[in-house]
């Protein structure tokens, strides 16, 4: 495989970087090259954060081009649309968490937060295959809303299983190696919940 591109979009504090590193580790375990283009600024919470994840045999720099992402992991819907609009290719896969986090601009009324329906329709207009759900809710059911990122990863792994250059098991091994010991079990449970969800997802056909 020349390259496989994943765009991860979210808001500071949602665990965007951990996901990109887990995916990177899984790819390294398959002997592939990895580049992660991480954009994060000040330590502030709530800023827009996105990662270019590039794995394959022919990757050199950290950036993908417009319309080059094979998949988008959207941890927050508005951020998902912002990056998906720019990077997701026609026919690319979007896994979208529908739990909103307002921006200051929408809070103070200088901009309007688009409806989830409009966001989903926009992805359809872009020719994306889209899976959407309130993945934060699944994480809340486990007891830790912060596990949402790994739930999304599990869902993505279940849906994209046949197109990824690494296996679901590779991802789980990477989680076990990257996450602090006392959090491993919970993260694996979150991953499995996301994976199970994807297998039950009916609106969707690849």
């Amino acid at each position: 495989m020349k390259y496989y591109h994943i765009m991860i979009a979210g808001v500071g504090g949602q665990g965007n970087l951990l996901l990109s590193r887990i995916i990177g580790d899984a790819a390294i375990s398959k002997g592939l090259k990895v580049r992660l283009g991480e954009t994060f600024g000040a330590a502030q919470r709530g800023g827009s954060v996105h990662s270019h994840v590039r794995v394959g045999e022919e990757v050199y720099g950290p950036l993908m081009l417009e319309d080059e992402a094979d998949a988008l992991l959207a941890l927050e819907p508005l951020e998902g649309l912002r990056r998906g609009l720019q990077y997701l290719r026609k026919g690319g896969l979007a896994v979208l968490n529908t739990r909103k986090i307002n921006s200051f601009d929408t809070n103070v009324g200088v901009a309007e937060y688009p409806s989830i329906e409009d966001i989903i329709n926009s992805f359809r207009k872009l020719g994306a295959r889209i899976v959407h759900h309130d993945f934060t809710k699944i994480a809340e059911e486990i007891g830790y809303p912060r596990l949402m990122n790994v739930v999304v990863l599990g869902a993505f792994a279940g849906i994209a299983e046949n197109e990824l250059p690494f296996t679901t098991e590779d991802l789980k091994t990477a989680i076990r190696n990257r996450v602090p010991p006392r959090w491993v079990e919970l993260n694996i449970r979150a991953f499995d919940k996301g994976y199970e969800f994807s297998k039950k997802y009916s609106e969707f056909s690849i």
Partner: protein, 689 residues
């Protein structure tokens, strides 16, 4: 980032697993290179995108016996590293582009005689100015000093260049400059681990080691008919000639064969973009590629050879046309007819980030191939969707103490100007500085402004914290600029400067002494939140710990300011708006009426750090809410600029986002009708600790 190894959790950078590949951020790769190279001393000052080198080395410092420090500023860090190398140790100093400017004096001087220990000088530039005041390219600075510059193309090469940098530095007895950029330093890649050097350089001091009076530029060293600094300069130039020979054979500079009369010379991240672009281009022809790993000195023989059979060469580099200009000068002798293109010729735009898409387009033009672009239909679909994508502006955090400080400052300025109307016909000046509070100049809601032609004082009115800073340049700049405004005779409003605690230590102390010594009537606000917050909460002298976590003295800015000659110093709490406003107005009146330098310290720990601590303790943070029956829709709370305070357009009432609110109480304090109160009786939040 931690990785488990058996049951012991160690930092991924510290794993002793030669031959394995690991995913490292560029700055972690630099730390790994330093470790593999047997570094003994590391010093730096936080600055994005360079900070993670010291942070990472601090984490493995104990395991490997490395001395690691956050210095007070980059100049001191550089001096510390020079001192270490002068007694034979291997040392690394790290800084962002702006920080390089800080240490230039020592950098330009230490090369007169050089050092026995390997000294690697790591600089992370920021093209595109993602995290910086400028896009400054530091390579010309290192060239002006006359040292070897290495420029990595990816994280793997960052590691290797730093590791080998120590060897090269010791071979030529001069510092080696490693220049990285944001897209390498703050990106990650797979890095092949090598052996960790177990051997440590011997620590010794011999004042005449290798050269008489080695460490004293004024020492009576005689060489080539000169004495003292000129003799040492002659010595340095000889080393530089040796380096010129050395880079000809260095594997970091290499040719990849092509089959046409066009070529590409690429260095650093530019080389990676070229490789990425060539994968995507359907080239009828294959251009020659010369990869440059040493932007200075260039391998001139290799380049002349490369140019000989080519008609056109495109130079791809991130930053200024630094290599391009050197090659143009070189080609005048060897091949005057060749066309050299790059950022200097406008083939690639000369400002902003280089980026892959620009490189792809330039290569497509060079090779006459088609670069894929979106069709009109796709563009139209995207343009339509773009209309609904709301912005997410960068701003101060919910509960940030600076929100309180700026609220108080805004009202104090208005009140002072009104009270002293007879004296102040015009406007105040607020001089900013570098840190989270620089957001006070981001102008989030600013309208398009036409430049004004009249040389006359104009008063502005501000209604949010994001427009409060009139000037902002560099670390420590505000307090100095304020003094110049005063001494030049500006009397049309109070003159104020703001800076954070880490910035105060970094650069403001000499400027403050200058203010009291030369009697500048300015008011200085120090926003003390106990951390170097903006770069990721590195400890500062106000924190009470060092880089490696060992306890240290907590330095009080109040005592230091008094020692620097400020007679009138106040410490106040930005979470107590009424009191803080009284204090600030008192200070400004003292400045205005008695022509004195005054200083007010707004002291509150960074809300993010407090929230993290409370969360770690398992506490659930409570929030405030708006009683919509009482809310009169005056929007004062919205003007606070807190991301948790919102405005409902339909009901014309304020609301508080419970997921963001950290119970600082600021909005409740500014509400004139007491419509904002805690959601629960027992408040858990940043104010209660």
């Amino acid at each position: 980032m931690l990785l488990k190894c058996g049951v012991v959790v160690v930092h991924i950078v510290g794993l002793d697993k030669p031959g394995s590949r690991f995913l490292l951020q560029g700055n972690e790769a630099v730390a790994r290179g330093a470790l593999e190279g047997g570094v003994q001393v590391a010093a730096g000052y936080p600055g994005t995108p360079s900070s993670e080198v010291i942070e990472t080395l601090a984490e493995i410092a104990k395991d490997y016996g490395i001395y690691v420090e956050w210095s007070i500023n980059e100049k001191v860090a550089f001096d510390v590293a020079v001192g270490a190398a002068s007694v034979g140790a291997r040392a690394i100093v790290t800084a962002k582009n702006a920080g390089v400017n800080w240490y230039m004096d020592m950098f330009a001087t230490v090369v007169y005689g050089g050092l026995p220990g390997g000294l690697v000088v790591y600089a992370a530039d920021d093209p595109g100015a993602f995290y910086s005041s400028t896009e400054q390219d530091t390579r010309p600075l290192a060239k002006s000093v006359g040292v070897l510059i290495l420029e990595p193309a990816d994280q793997g090469e960052s590691k290797e260049m730093v590791r080998l940098g120590f060897d090269y530095s010791e071979k030529f007895e001069l510092p080696v400059f490693v220049r990285s950029v944001t897209r390498i330093s703050h990106s990650s890649g797979d890095v092949l681990y090598g052996e960790i050097r177990k051997e440590r350089n011997k620590i010794f001091f011999n004042r005449h080691y290798g050269l008489p009076f080695r460490y004293n530029v004024y020492g009576p060293y005689r060489y080539k008919g000169e004495t003292g600094p000129s003799a040492k300069h002659a010595w340095q130039l000889e080393r530089l000639d040796e380096i010129r020979e050395f880079v000809e054979e260095l594997p970091f500079n290499q040719v990849e064969e092509g089959n046409a009369d066009v070529g590409i010379i690429a260095s650093g991240i530019g080389y990676s973009y070229v490789k990425d672009a060539l994968v995507r281009l359907d080239c009828g022809i294959k251009p020659w590629v010369l990869k440059i790993g040493t932007p200075y000195p260039l391998p001139t023989r290799k380049i002349s050879e490369f140019l000989r059979n080519l008609k056109k060469v495109l130079v791809i580099e991130e930053g200024d046309p630094f290599i391009e200009e050197q090659i143009k000068a070189l080609s005048k002798d060897c091949c005057p007819d060749i066309k050299i293109l790059g950022r200097g010729t406008g083939t690639i735009r000369s400002f902003g980030e280089l980026g892959l898409s620009q490189v792809l387009k330039a290569l497509a033009d060079l090779t006459g191939s088609k670069s894929y672009e979106l069709d009109d239909e796709r563009r139209n679909v995207k343009a339509e969707i773009k209309k609904i994508v709301a912005p997410r502006s960068s701003m101060m955090c919910a509960g940030c103490p600076h929100l309180g400080t700026y609220w108080v400052l805004r009202f104090a300025l208005h009140k002072i100007v009104n009270k002293y109307r007879d004296r102040f016909k015009g406007a105040w000046i607020v001089n900013g500085d570098i840190g989270c509070y620089e957001m006070g100049g981001y102008g989030l809601f600013a309208k398009e402004i036409e430049p004004q032609k009249e040389k006359a004082t104009r008063r502005v009115s501000i209604d949010n914290p994001y427009e409060i800073l009139d000037s902002n340049y560099i670390m420590g700049g505000g307090i100095g600029v304020a003094q110049g405004q005063y001494h030049a005779g500006y009397r049309e409003g109070p003159i104020v400067a703001v800076a954070g605690d880490s910035t105060f230590f970094h650069a403001c102390m000499p400027a403050l002494l200058n203010a009291t010594y030369n009697k500048a009537a300015v008011t200085f606000l120090v926003l003390d939140n106990s951390w170097t917050a903006m770069t990721g909460h590195q400890p500062a002298p106000t924190t009470g710990i060092t880089a490696t976590g060992s306890p240290s003295k907590v330095y009080g800015i109040e005592e230091i300011a008094r020692a620097l000659g400020v007679d009138d110093v106040w410490v106040t709490d930005p979470y107590d708006l009424k009191k803080a406003e009284e204090v600030l107005i008192g200070a400004m009146e003292k400045t205005v009426n008695e022509n004195k330098t005054t200083l007010v310290i707004f002291k509150r720990e960074c809300a993010l750090q407090v929230v993290r601590r409370l969360t770690r303790e398992g506490k659930i943070i409570t929030h405030y809410l708006v009683d919509t029956d009482k809310c009169v829709g005056c929007r004062l709370c919205v003007q606070l600029g807190c991301p948790a305070v919102g405005w409902d357009k339909n009901s014309k009432k304020a609301f508080i986002d419970p997921t963001l609110c950290v119970s600082c109480s600021l909005c409740a304090q500014v509400c004139p009708v007491k419509a904002i109160k805690p959601s629960t009786e027992r408040v858990v939040g940043v104010k209660e600790v």
